[in-house]
Symmetry: C2
């Protein structure tokens, strides 16, 4: 049997566990719900969910739960020492060392943890849409925006291990308030949540008359209604998608300025409709990037593993293939 590892992507609502071999093949997978509420014993319930997943997969795939390498991807600021410092989307585990808890529960000394978007970047770099690219940024577009930065082939972790919080780059000083406490963060404009905001503004301004009519009110038009209508060719919906593309390109152009990234891999829920907004993103990048004509062409593509890249990257971390 070839070497395998377990990768588990623990999100705010679900945990995806995969069994991956050394070549990146997914042999099995399992989804479970994650605990929402605060916990007197931080991380205890999340650790239980993860340990149960490992047990269940071990029954199906016949590996040793005490020995199999396990990697866990977590949402939020991950310290280099393994503690989850700040995790607004997984408050039940905030402050915990989930790797240690899972390791104790399973009697397994081979458990490692990493930020979820960093995991996704590692998986795309090793096996996916960032293969053979040394300078790229993984951009996960969900409710917010997560990121993983690969510079000269290496994951950038930063001083505390918190690098890649690209969604909280401010692109509009004094702009829209953000759940982080700041104002004008990129994720308020260019994520799934950003699309919802742009949609509401457009609907209230009378720029989505057909969708407002079918939805029964300006406040009732959702981002999903806009993407569905744009896919069906609605010009009013396409205009909102184009606006989303402009904001996306603006943040990517900032990452180009700072890092000279030559490539971007888009993941997260919104990447499922990337075909709708990528043409706008490419068009606006040419306007927004300083010295665009003097650079190699900048490419923006969808994640190769969609929702699985975080879990697959966690398996790479488990294998020690993350440096």
């Amino acid at each position: 049997m070839s070497e395998i590892a377990i990768g588990i992507d623990v999100g705010g609502t679900k945990a995806l566990a995969v069994v991956v071999d050394a070549s990146g093949r997914v042999l099995d997978e399992l989804r479970s719900g994650t605990p929402h509420e605060h916990d007197a014993d931080p991380g205890a319930r999340a650790a239980e969910v993860v340990a149960d997943q490992v047990f269940e997969l071990s029954r199906r795939q016949e590996f040793d739960v005490h020995q199999v390498p396990i990697g866990i991807g977590l949402p939020g600021l991950m310290r280099r020492d393994g503690h989850l410092a700040f995790a607004p989307n997984l408050q039940s585990a905030s402050g915990a060392d989930l790797g240690a808890l899972v390791g104790e529960s399973l009697g397994n000394p081979h458990v490692r943890v990493e930020n979820d978007a960093n995991c996704a970047a590692l998986a795309e770099h090793e096996w996916g849409a960032g293969r053979n690219v040394n300078d790229f940024v993984m951009v996960t577009l969900g409710t917010g925006i997560g990121g993983g930065v690969i510079a000269d082939g290496q994951l950038v972790r930063g001083h505390n291990g918190f690098a890649g919080e690209i969604g909280h780059m401010v692109v509009e000083a004094h702009g829209a308030p953000c759940r982080c406490g700041g104002h004008g963060c990129w994720e308020r404009y260019a994520s799934g949540g950003g699309l919802a905001r742009l949609t509401t503004i457009a609907a209230l301004a009378g720029r989505l008359p057909s969708l407002v009519a079918t939805s029964g009110g300006a406040e009732l038009v959702r981002g999903e209604d806009v993407t569905a209508a744009a896919a069906a060719g609605s010009a009013e919906a396409e205009a909102v998608i184009d606006e989303l593309g402009w904001w996306l390109a603006l943040g990517l152009a900032n990452l180009v300025a700072i890092l000279d990234a030559g490539h971007f891999v888009i993941g997260g829920g919104l990447s499922q409709v990337a075909d709708l907004f990528l043409p706008s993103v490419h068009r606006y990048l040419a306007e927004l990037v300083e010295g665009f004509a003097d650079r190699e062409p900048i490419t923006v593509v969808s994640s190769m593993f969609a929702g699985r890249s975080g879990a697959m990257g966690a398996a790479l971390v488990a294998m020690g293939r993350d440096s």
Copy 2:
């Protein structure tokens, strides 16, 4: 004689050449003017200035112009192949391979080139205010803002070699127009040029009544007047400096979000009055950085070598100590 190298920082108005030994001691230095105008033979006149500096220093320090390692720091987008792709502040050399021209002129095969702010970052990392720090950003505040990013102890060069163009990070979408063609670039708010802009706006808005009176008109108040008045304790001037500090902190907070930089070294002309604005910068960082309390304290300090760090870093590049 200990090993020496020549480092030359070629700017828009002057070139500073230094003779440096392996421990970072500056043994000699020389300043010359640089050619402003366009040139039919791009880089020829700038190369002549540099070669003349090397000859003059060789007479004083008795080294072999054919053998001494030479590093040249240049303003603008430097390709990894040594060509200056885009240099608004040194248009006479735009497109040229200045290293090759200088090497031919001197009959010296040991000439290397690098972006000037990257050079400054290397010098501060090796010998100066970024010593023993693995994740920091060099921020040079002149007319614009240049930058050099050190991540995990390595200079980040990026896909084309253009990394560190932090001044063109957009912090105000649809903001003030920039000479790069964009709008709302950080350097329009937080550089020497940015201070001039904030000063004019404050003067026109009636927020600098004393300085307007002594200058003879709102349009005549310069950034230097504000820093001088702030140093003398003028509250109206201190308010503009505080505003500059807010904009500086905003961009630094973005770099913290993306890179988790734990330290910043401020260089360039404006760093000479860093004592005036650093207290505001530190105060606003605590407000603007996501998860500030969960991080190690973020430090912002002045360059240790002031105007010499670019030239000293170019000497490091010459010695091959830039990786």
